[in-house]
């Protein structure tokens, strides 16, 4: 045997004073589907962590070296029993197993050492990088900051997606819902937003937390790989509660994510948290509630399903300077069925959040990606979460697109249209093309400003519609090479000064000369 172990054991024996320890216990009456009914535990508290004594009745040699302790969470207090969710493998619990109360509310580890790591809903690492050395424990359930400790949202959080940053701006501390059918690009927007944070200076860069709820592990692995390849994992934490995890862990994962984020917010840092997705969390909570025999309500969800999401999302906020000025920006994701935003969970979360980005399957299928329906997408924080440079160039886009959508129906009669209408339609079509973006290629804000400035100057009016995207990409690349100082100035100051405008106009003229092949109409 290793001599250090022997020494440790010797020290333990020498320093050990045997004493009888008294515990508050209960006994498992019934177990199944991740939920246990426990007799006793009369002093149990709602939300308290309990520990299952798996060593009871086993001989010492069988009890030694047992896998990590199995915990549970008290969710129901009944007349002479409690019901709890098992936070692990239910098969390890037997009828008659003794359960001890810990007197503690569930908490998860947080701290700098979690950056770049993948953890489960209990904060335990699930990657191969070993345990955390000195984490700070944060309570999973915590009251959201009160009104006097909050500050209004005014600092932009760039997503790198032109359509969002220009028309549906998101501020630090805001809660913006991403909603749409499956396969419409909801996760892509969230991941692009994480990738965009790489453009932020390190001291202002938000810590990103991606909470995967009920997702396929292959999808989470792919996302982690993408974030790693693009250097975004260094400021990102992934909380993973896959589809194969017990419902209790899927229900807890968003709370664990926000608890991890609160550590950084309390320290004065900005945090971006993505809940992918809350529909699956609601389903997990419904499953748990039905197993706990709570009365079902609409769509069989329990009566407190609204409170589940409101108490989670209220924890996203921007703190006042006295509280350190940190923030948590939440991007919850909701999956709709056949675009029905009027279903129970979507309407709940729409009413809780400060706006929504609606992704439309028909737009997606038409090739308009990101498939954002600008008409019903909104950010209630509005232009106060935009830089002055972005405000200066983005003002008229939403109106132009709305007019274009109105006129779109007349496009089939194109030959009968008057010149002004035809021009407006052509301009709208070009704007739609400019707003298209590939996934994984978010655009820094200064480049978005340059692009929209050029569009406002009708720079792409002579480019065939089919080549607008290509021309836009070439123009951005050209401006980045030849007029980098103008872009750097916009990034640094957040303003579009007259010098910057002149420089961008000059870039446009030079580009036109160098790439005359684009301008053929």
């Amino acid at each position: 045997m290793d001599t250090t172990i022997i020494e440790k054991v010797m020290r333990e024996i020498e320093g050990y004073t045997p004493k009888a320890e008294t515990e508050h216990v209960g006994r498992v009456m019934a177990v199944g589907d991740g939920v246990v009914a426990i007799e006793g535990l009369a002093k149990g508290v709602l939300g308290e962590v309990i520990v299952f004594d798996e060593q009871g009745g086993k001989h010492l040699k069988d009890a030694l070296g047992h896998e990590s302790k199995l915990f549970g969470l008290i969710l129901n207090l009944e007349e002479d029993s409690v019901r709890a969710a098992v936070l692990g493998d239910t098969a390890r619990v037997r009828e008659g197993t003794i359960v001890s109360s810990t007197g503690q509310i569930l908490s998860v580890p947080s701290g700098d050492e979690l950056l770049g790591r993948v953890v489960n809903a209990l904060g335990a690492p699930v990657d191969d990088k070993g345990p955390f050395k000195n984490p700070t424990m944060m309570p999973v359930e915590r009251e959201a900051a009160g009104v006097i400790y909050r500050k209004s949202v005014s600092v932009p959080l760039a997503t790198g997606i032109v359509a969002i940053d220009a028309m549906i701006p998101i501020g630090r501390g805001q809660r913006e819902l991403i909603i749409g059918d499956r396969g419409t690009g909801k996760t892509t927007i969230a991941i692009d937003t994480i990738l965009t944070q790489k453009n932020e200076p390190e001291e202002k860069r938000p810590i990103c937390i991606y909470v995967a709820i009920g997702q396929k592990e292959s999808k989470t692995a792919r996302i982690k790989q993408e974030l790693m390849e693009k250097g975004a994992m260094e400021y990102t934490i992934i909380v993973d509660a896959p589809a194969s995890a017990p419902a209790a862990l899927q229900f807890l994962a968003p709370f664990a994510g926000v608890a991890i984020g609160e550590f950084f917010m309390d320290r004065g840092q900005d945090v971006l948290i993505i809940y992918d997705d809350l529909s699956k969390q609601a389903v997990a909570y419904r499953q748990l509630s039905l197993l706990l025999r709570r009365p079902p309500g609409r769509e069989a969800y329990p009566g407190d399903i609204f409170y589940l999401h409101s108490r989670l999302l209220e924890r996203a906020c921007r703190l006042s300077e006295e509280k350190g000025g940190g923030s948590i920006t939440a991007l919850p994701i909701i999956e709709t069925q056949e675009g029905d935003v009027s279903a129970y969970i979507p309407t709940n979360v729409i009413s809780i959040t400060d706006g929504q980005i609606f992704l439309d399957a028909s737009l997606f299928n038409k090739g308009l990606r990101p498939a954002i329906d600008v008409g019903i997408s909104v950010s209630r924080v509005g232009s106060s979460a935009q830089t002055k440079a972005m405000k200066a160039v983005a003002g008229g886009i939403k109106l132009e697109l709305a007019q274009f959508r109105e006129l779109e129906a007349f496009m089939q009669f194109a030959q009968d249209l008057d010149k002004a209408t035809a021009e407006r339609i052509a301009s709208g079509q070009r704007m739609v093309e400019l707003l298209k973006q590939r996934n994984g290629e978010p655009l820094p804000v200064e480049k978005q400003v340059a692009l929209l400035h050029a569009a406002n100057r009708r720079f792409f009016a002579e480019v065939p519609i089919a080549r607008v995207r290509e021309a836009a990409a070439a123009f951005i690349s050209f401006a980045d090479d030849a007029h980098a100082s103008a872009l750097a100035d916009i990034k640094r100051t957040g303003l579009l000064s007259d010098e910057s405008k002149q420089s961008l106009d000059k870039a446009g003229e030079e580009f036109r000369l160098a790439h005359s092949d684009f301008f053929t109409t």
Binding site: E12, H24, K58, L60
Partner: protein, 120 residues
Amino acid sequence: MEQKYAHALRKLAEGGIAPQDAVAAVARALEARGRGGLLSRVGKAFARLAVRAARRKRKTLIVARESDAAAARAASGFAEAETIIDDSLIGGWRLEEGDTLTDASYKKYLLDMYNRATRA
């Protein structure tokens, strides 16, 4: 459902109502709701409640071997506790009384020591 009625029956009995009157009251309540057939299941649920209540009041002293019982009774201060033999404790004693468990077994000491030595 039957558990709720069993709880009601227990409350009636604990409230000082004679057992036959309590059962009659519950039977009447069930009949009035068209659930008369539930009475036998209520009876079984009540029996389970009674067993649990009795178990909660019971004091059990667990020792590794018969010869340890006297010393354990003296150490725990529960001379009247029912004694059970469980050789997995190795030595010492363990007292269960309702929701309280006092563990002074060697098994617990050794497991604690092992956990501290291997996890430190």
